[in-house]
């Protein structure tokens, strides 16, 4: 019995080893294919590094564990193994009987029980296993650039973002926009650069256009204010220069009025522009009477301020925030003939205020009539007006199917001399008899009813 059990145990170990190996090879092969596929997919989509994906090797333990369990479940019973040993040893049932009965003297006559050879035709399984291992190796070793073919390429908007960032910086430096607004725009720009994707470039470009439009709008508004300011400063500067150069030639009244006008213009400009206020000399007590030195200082301050404004506009232009036309307009608005101003004032001061004269002079109006103020009189009367009387055309036949045959004639057809109805417009199709802009065709089957309607007493 002991010898039998030993042989059976040996046979059983050989068989279970082979079954486990066979199952494990199949499971590992399947796991290898799955693992390799997952590795390639994750590297291609998420871009996980291969070292991280090595954690998938834990699945091998699970696969081998499953293989062991299934192999043990597939393992034949001890009785079947004993029967197999009996058969291959040609024991004639003695070994099988030894499981339940005592053989007695037959044990001496029983043939030698030898463990049969187990052969596994596993060539195909090994080939598949090697293929799976190679597949896993390739999935790990293949360069990242080859597996990133499906990854979306980022959208390169660095140049555009830099340009917008510079624009924001300029607007911030020039205090055109608030600091908080500038920060918000910078955050939005950074987010846009991070989210920019080649998969949806339109969205990115639209956002860039929106930001650029916002900056441009802010810049244009600021430039327009600067132009207005430049215009006022130029008027004041021209008047100041005129007073310096031609003040001695002016009459006392005109000089006083001009001084008052200059004082008003300077004060108004100083209220709007802090830089000008800082540059102006102390004019306390000299509202309507400036000394030549004061006029000179006022003129210098106005010119300096105008230059600063022009420099700001130039910076905006450098940052592509405003057009060249605005810069040229600022340059043009900054120039005015101060020498001719005195003569112009002398000629027109009687009929116009000094301020109006300066405005008209500096806006390019010379000695001509210039703009005339609009004058309003009484409304036009309708007395005597009347509508033209015109006869409307006669009614015509709507269509040939409603016509009636009168007869045949060899003579030339008579031509209706009445005016034809209009072919277009609200009265199109209307006839003199109808008098309506709506033309309703009466169908033949309704003609009888219409006829009876008009024939009723």
């Amino acid at each position: 019995m002991n010898i039998d059990n030993k042989t059976i145990r040996k046979f059983r170990i050989k068989m279970v080893t082979l079954l486990i190996l066979r199952k494990a090879l199949a499971f590992v092969t399947v796991w290898g294919l799955v693992w390799g596929t997952v590795v390639i997919v994750l590297r291609a989509t998420i871009g996980l590094p291969p070292l991280t994906l090595l954690t998938g090797s834990i699945g091998l333990v699970f696969a081998i564990g499953c293989a062991v369990v299934l192999a043990l479940r597939q393992m034949p019973t001890r009785t079947a193994l004993r029967a197999s040993l009996d058969q291959h040893s040609r024991a004639g049932g003695l070994m099988m009987a030894a499981e339940t009965v005592e053989l007695g003297n037959w044990r001496k006559r029983m043939p030698l029980i030898r463990t049969p050879r187990l052969r596994w035709h596993g060539g195909v399984s090994w080939a598949r296993f090697v293929g799976a291992v190679l597949f896993v190796c390739v999935s790990f070793l293949i360069p990242q650039r080859f597996v990133e073919i499906s990854k979306a390429q980022p959208l390169d908007i660095r140049e555009e973002v830099k340009q917008l960032a510079d624009g924001i910086d300029v607007l911030k430096e020039e205090e055109i926009i608030e600091l908080s607004e500038a920060e918000m725009l910078e955050e939005k720009l950074a987010q846009l650069q991070a989210d920019a994707s080649g998969e949806d470039p339109v969205k990115t470009w639209e956002t860039l256009d929106h930001l650029a439009g916002t900056l441009s709008q802010e810049s244009t508004n600021a430039a327009q204010e600067a132009l207005n300011e430049t215009e006022r400063l130029t008027e004041a500067e021209t008047l100041s220069e005129g007073l310096i150069n031609e003040g001695s030639e002016m009459g006392a009244a005109l000089l006083a009025e001009s001084m008052a006008a200059l004082s008003g213009l300077v004060q108004e400009a100083a209220q709007e522009n802090a830089l000008l206020a800082a540059q102006l000399p102390d004019l306390e007590g000299a509202e309507n009477s400036f000394t030549p030195e004061q006029l000179k200082e006022i003129s210098d301050a106005l010119r300096f301020t105008k230059g600063e404004i022009y420099d700001r506009l130039a910076e905006l232009y450098e940052a592509n925030l405003i057009d060249l036309e605005i810069l040229k307009a600022a340059e043009k608005l900054g120039v005015c003939d101060s020498e001719g101003l005195a003569a112009f004032l002398a000629e027109n001061a009687d009929s116009k205020a000094v301020v109006e004269c300066i405005g008209g002079w500096c806006r390019g109006i010379g000695r001509g009539p210039g703009d005339a103020p609009m004058t309003w009189s009484d409304g036009t009367t309708e007395e005597g007006a009347k509508f033209k009387t015109e006869a409307l055309p006669l009614s015509n036949i709507a269509s040939l199917e409603d016509s009636e045959l009168v007869g045949f004639s060899a003579a030339a057809p008579s031509v209706e001399t009445a005016s034809v109805p209009p072919e277009s417009g609200g009265l199109s199709g209307a006839t003199a008899g109808g008098g309506s802009s709506v033309f309703q065709t009466v169908l033949p089957r309704h003609k009888g009813a219409v006829k009876r309607y008009f024939e009723r007493p």
Partner: protein, 349 residues
Amino acid sequence: MQDNIQSENLLQPEELNPAVELTEKVLAELNRVLLGRSALHRMVLIGILSQGHILLEGVPGVGKTALVKALGQLLRLDFNRVQFTPDLMPGDIVGTHILQQTPEGEREMTFQAGPVFTNILLADEINRASPKTQSALLEAMQERSVTLLGNTRTLPNPFFVLASQNPIELEGTYPLPEAQLDRFLFKLIVPHADVDVLDDIISTRRRGEPPVPTWSMDAEQLRQLFDVMGRIFLPKPVSRYISRLTAATHPDAPEATEEVKQYVTYAASPRAAIAMAEASRASALLSGRPTVGFEDVKAVASAVLNHRVILNYQARFDGVDTFTVVDTLLALLDETDLNLPDDLEIRSA
């Protein structure tokens, strides 16, 4: 009949050897009397030891009757031979009641036993008798008794029927129904003798008459043989193999082969499994072993199954017979039921 319950103690060599010697003597004497039939003699002896009936199929003149005669002489058993003809009546087989006058002058119905009341009955050309007569014999085979006019008479013990069937001259014959064929333990094919055997027969036998057996077994020895038969151990894997083999003859069985699925109409019955187990025990006894091995089952499986597995017309068209189907089944069915994968193979060391 011996008890089928397995003995806890295995038959020891000293108990088995006398029975084996007896069977060897019987076989040796049969081989001496009838030349060139050793395999057939072995199968017939297996059938006798299994107490089963045997259907012998072969052309006339191949020694069927001589075999039965020699067997009767060797076993020292009564022997009757009936030539079956179409006009043979059941009463001619089982016997009948005839009106006889007693010594006292009275008349009464007396039972006149038929030839079935013997130990060995040779039913020659059984397929020539009418189904009614066949049925009477087959009932006696199954019940081992005869009932006439309400009286049941037990047949002698042991009782064997060795029927012969002529495969040629089928005109005017009544083929045995499949259900009745099932009652025969074996269907054995008696082949033609080869040249050497024929030469031996005509050179050693005057007018072909076989010699008289020089040894015969007595009733006690036959009973001892049956006792030993009952103690031959049938291991569980072998009985399992017999069951699987019988089940696999069913076309819808999980282990049925492609030939079975394609050609078999009616499969083997449980009686076939019982017969195979008994015959395997006898085979083991003849091999001098106290236990049945897979080789014993394989040795008797074809003789047990070939007349119980009924093939369809497709098999006839394809030239496939039951021997082919059974041999394929034996070759493909794993005896040990290891259920190993196809790519695993066990080879003897």
